[in-house]
């Protein structure tokens, strides 16, 4: 389909801008004035709406269908939250208004902090970080502040991370000026304790751990791990990416973690928005509270709510203002519709994942044959070995059945990984239909592997060439010089070309 720039005709427009007669003359100094207008699209409003509506039909969301993208918790996003976030009392609120004009907003933030304290089992919360990875970075800044206050910051330079970790963990370590110490995974999918013991000492600043891990497995030795780190004087950071497995069942604070980030866009239903926004609040043990970002949202003695900037030991600010407020509104609303029944949410997520795991584990390899938590990792290694079909091929073929593929090739410790997270917001009928499709694909891999290798067959585009995109990056429209597609678009009749 055309780019919006290719629908543009000089002189057309969608906007109406207020203009006033009789105001004093105004302009900008000649040397600062724009010479050439930017080539923004010139389209009438109805063309604009059609263009973006057509684009939306070439996209797939949770509202479209099943989206078991492991590690991302693609659950249903309640529509009421979208209405609530648009209330003028929230949407048209300025972050620099005086506190007496934003009492409702501050109360909402304070209440969410209290909820997250209870859910994580920790003492204090900052809602400021904009996403999980920023929560990680903020957490590591707190670690540094903690050891600086103890005069140990020069000595404790290392952060221990398992080989199953999300890539954000090591990247956050580098951005915070630490060095990474990797630790291995054992045959049951837990951290390898023997390896761990050789790697934790008085140079260790912290552990970063996702529990349940990216394998979807709860680390059975978490109590021993806690002893090793706290015994060495180090801190423990919990990557909350997988919190959807354990709400009301097991709390990071009770596992011994000192810092936790919570992905509001995963566990607490902030829509993922095609790649964001997210929210990454952090909860910490009391010893770390003085270092949290400013301003802190507090309840005053008289019952009003306020912003406390007077935190002399604070690490500072990690984003502007108090946090991604609209995200906080949605997640707060979501939690209020669950209350203590959050436990049921997590139990259902875990039940759904185990059911799908049980139905698929014979057709695909299951590298860690244990009960899983909210997600699990299969390997398509058997299909590759026997039929030359890869995890990528399976993923692309799933599209033909109307499903978004799982996360693939992650975690790195599993070859040909297919990481499946059904979430709790699915019917058994949907889970069964997905399992049937996965089993059918395993059969197709044996009987007609080409069907998989050439998939997808009925999406708006066929398989895209990512190597070409990276080799010769075209990252914006080139107007008159823009390269045209190699051939005219053709209608692809689903699967018909494979019949012969």
């Amino acid at each position: 389909m055309k780019l919006i720039y290719e629908r543009s005709q000089a002189g057309r427009r969608a906007s109406t801008i207020p203009q006033h007669e009789g105001l004093p003359p105004a302009g900008v100094p000649e040397e600062l004035r724009r010479a050439e207008p930017p080539r923004l699209p010139e389209v009438p409003e109805f063309e604009l709406v059609r263009h973006f509506t057509e684009l939306s039909t070439r996209n797939f969301g949770v509202d479209t269908g099943f989206y078991p993208l492991g590690s991302c918790t693609m659950k249903y996003n309640p529509r009421v939250n979208e209405r609530l976030v648009g209330l003028p009392g929230f949407a048209s609120l300025h972050p620099l208004q005086d506190e007496d004009g934003v009492q409702g907003a501050l109360e909402l933030e304070w209440r969410l902090q209290e909820i997250l304290r209870e859910v994580t089992g920790l003492d204090a919360v900052s809602l400021q970080p904009a996403a999980g990875s920023q929560g990680e970075l903020t957490g590591l800044m707190l670690v540094r502040a903690h050891f600086e206050a103890r005069g140990e910051s020069e000595q404790r330079r290392r952060v221990v991370i398992p080989d199953t970790a999300h890539g954000t963990n090591p990247a956050s370590v580098t951005m915070s000026g630490y060095e990474m110490t990797p630790v291995k995974t054992d045959a049951r999918g837990n951290i390898d304790l023997d390896d761990l013991r050789t790697k934790v000492d008085d140079h260790t600043a912290a552990l970063m751990l996702t529990n349940p891990s990216t394998l979807g497995l709860f680390d059975e030795n978490i109590e021993e791990i806690e002893k090793i780190f706290h015994g060495a004087g180090a801190l423990m950071y919990y990557d909350g990416a997988n919190l959807n497995a354990v709400c009301g069942i097991s709390r990071p604070g009770d596992m011994g973690f000192d810092i936790v980030h919570i992905n509001l866009h995963k566990t607490f239903a902030q829509p993922h928005g095609g790649g964001g926004p997210g929210g990454g609040p952090i909860a910490v043990r009391d010893i770390l509270e003085p270092y949290l970002p400013v301003p802190a949202v507090v309840r005053n003695d008289d019952g009003t709510f306020g912003l406390d900037f007077d935190r002399p030991e604070s690490i500072g600010k990690v984003r502007a203002f108090t946090g991604p407020f609209g995200v906080l509104v949605r997640s707060y609303a979501y939690i209020r519709m669950y209350g203590p029944r959050l436990r049921e949410m997590s139990e259902t997520a875990v039940l759904n994942a185990n059911y799908v795991r049980a139905r698929l584990k014979d057709a695909y390899e299951l590298p860690y044959d244990r009960l899983c938590m909210h997600e699990f990792v299969l390997s398509a290694r058997n299909l590759k070995r026997d039929h030359g079909v890869t995890a990528l091929d399976v993923a692309k073929r799933l599209m033909d059945y109307g499903y978004h593929p799982p996360t693939i090739y992650f975690p790195l410790v599993v070859p040909e990984a297919l990481m499946i997270e059904p979430t709790e917001t699915e019917t058994k009928e949907t889970l069964d239909a997905f399992c049937d499709a996965m089993l059918q694909i395993a059969k197709e891999a044996a009987e007609s592997p080409e069907l998989l290798k050439q998939a997808p067959h009925n999406r708006p585009v066929r398989r895209l060439d990512e190597v070409r995109a990276a080799k010769h990056p075209v990252v914006k429209y080139g107007f008159e010089q823009h390269p045209q597609p190699d051939v005219e678009p053709v209608a692809v009749e689903a699967l018909s070309h494979l019949d012969d």
């Binding site: 801008i17 996209n59 540094r144 992905n263 669950y338 058994k428 429209y477």
Partner: protein, 451 residues
């Protein structure tokens, strides 16, 4: 217990599923969790609300805020009350955009990928740059990202110069990030509302980057081309923190020698929303493309030769490069950037220019009225401005704001909260939503409560 609306399993479903799994109860699914770390009580949270009860509760919270529709507001200082057209809400609410995630599987995600490609194009057109990413968290964090780019693009240099007339929100975030990057932040004071290029040139000696804001925090127009030249003379990256909506009337940073152009996108298509979520935009020249943080979409073709879009240059990113990545960012602000793209498309080049001109004239009118009608003094009378201006109000601006609000007007921001010696200064923002009559009212109220 009644079935929760966001769950679906019946008792029969559960029994069948447990049988397939081979366990006797849901509790047994959690047997790998050691008893010592299990929560042996119910979460102490308030009872679940029905949707109707929730709506009432949230409505009450919202009503406890005095939003910009309830008082006439001239607040700006980084977040602005520009008009958001209906098409933005409508299209951002399309479920296919709203409830999708990062387009890891491009064949499922051509809609958002093409939209990001179009967004990147719009940002490059506005800023005069070659490459834009798919967005960062906000205008402050993308400035910290720029410091990380500079650290690697100018190896061995460990200082970053930031003008004091750059937003305090931005400066505070940069200072929070800097120690982890091994960078030191040096601030250059303003001279009567703008930055002196010669002073900046001296400070830039040995620095990896020079960051300035245009228009600056006081609303004044910096001699931006001279500031960029000062940075370039010192071989520091010139980084312009700009307001997208000023770029219909102000020159694009790429045309006057900047290495990076970035800023807060809120003004272009997002509601103020008490500070977020918004989008930070970040654009640079071709030579730094492989140092860019975050997602970038590129054009390619499918096996049939059809044009299509994919995430590209992913070897920069954390999921591939891990500790050697250019950033840890993964979730960004795509939906807000989509809102930005829809808004910029709605504006078009003519609308953008008219919007800039309306802001300029209303600000000029406000200057005139605040001086003539309210008898106030401009703080920097000889400086050119865009949509924001600083006036002296004769006593502590926070008190003036309080008194003005009692008369239904939020007259601006007390910039003395961030700058010493400016306790009597009010920063007034006028967007195209304000009218001459509203500006008259502001002047009348300030005439009463100032001094």
């Amino acid at each position: 217990m009644t079935q929760h609306p966001f769950l679906a399993l019946t008792d029969a479903d559960r029994e069948a599923m447990l049988r397939t799994i081979g366990v006797s109860s849901v509790a047994e699914l959690f047997r790998d969790i050691p008893p010592g770390v299990r929560l042996d009580r119910e979460l102490q949270l308030e009872r679940p609300l029905s949707e109707a009860e929730l709506s009432t509760h949230m409505g009450e919270l919202a009503a406890r805020n005095v939003d910009m529709e309830r008082e006439l507001s001239f607040l700006g200082a980084g977040v602005y009350d520009h008009y958001v057209p209906a098409v933005v809400d409508t299209l951002m609410q399309r479920g296919e955009f709203l409830t999708a995630y990062t387009p890891y599987q491009p064949e499922m995600s051509q809609g958002v990928l093409q939209a990001i490609f179009e967004y990147q194009t719009a940002i490059c057109e506005l800023t005069g740059m070659d490459v834009s990413n798919a967005s960062g968290y906000d205008g402050a964090t993308v400035t910290a990202d720029a410091c990380f780019i500079a650290k690697h693009a100018r190896p061995g240099k460990t200082t970053i110069v930031v003008t004091e007339a750059t937003s305090p929100q931005v400066r505070q975030v940069v200072k929070t990030y800097a120690p982890g990057f091994g960078l030191e932040i040096v601030e250059v004071p303003h001279r009567n509302g703008t930055t002196d290029p010669d002073e900046l040139r001296r400070a830039a000696e040995g620095a990896a980057a020079v960051i300035f804001q245009q228009p600056n925090v006081f609303g004044c127009l910096e001699p931006a081309p001279e500031l960029a030249a000062a940075a370039n003379d010192a071989e520091a990256l010139a980084v312009a923190h700009v307001d997208l909506l000023s770029l219909g009337v102000l020159e694009a940073p790429g045309r006057y020698g900047c290495a990076l152009a970035l800023g807060e996108g809120q003004a272009a298509g997002n509601f103020p929303s008490y500070g977020g979520p918004h989008y930070g935009f970040l654009a640079t020249r071709q030579e730094f493309i492989r140092r860019m943080p975050g997602r970038i979409v590129g054009e390619t073709a499918d096996t049939a030769g059809q044009r299509g879009y994919v995430l590209t240059l992913q070897t920069r990113e954390q999921h591939i490069r891990r500790e050697k990545a250019t950033s840890n960012i993964t979730t960004n602000q795509t939906l807000l950037a989509l809102g930005g793209l829809v808004y910029l498309t709605w504006l078009g080049p003519q609308g953008l220019r008219e919007l800039g001109e309306t802001c300029l004239s209303l600000a000029a009118y406000a200057k005139q009225q605040l001086q003539e009608r309210a008898g106030l003094e401009l703080v920097f009378p000889e400086r050119a401005t865009f949509k924001e201006l600083a006036v002296r109000v004769g006593r502590n601006a926070r008190d003036v704001i309080r008194d003005a609000r009692e008369r239904g007007v939020h007259p601006g921001y007390a910039i003395g909260r961030d700058y010493e010696g400016m306790d009597d200064v009010l920063l007034v923002a006028v967007t195209e939503k304000r009218t001459p009559a509203e500006i008259d009212r502001l002047a009348d109220v300030l005439a009463e409560v100032a001094r």
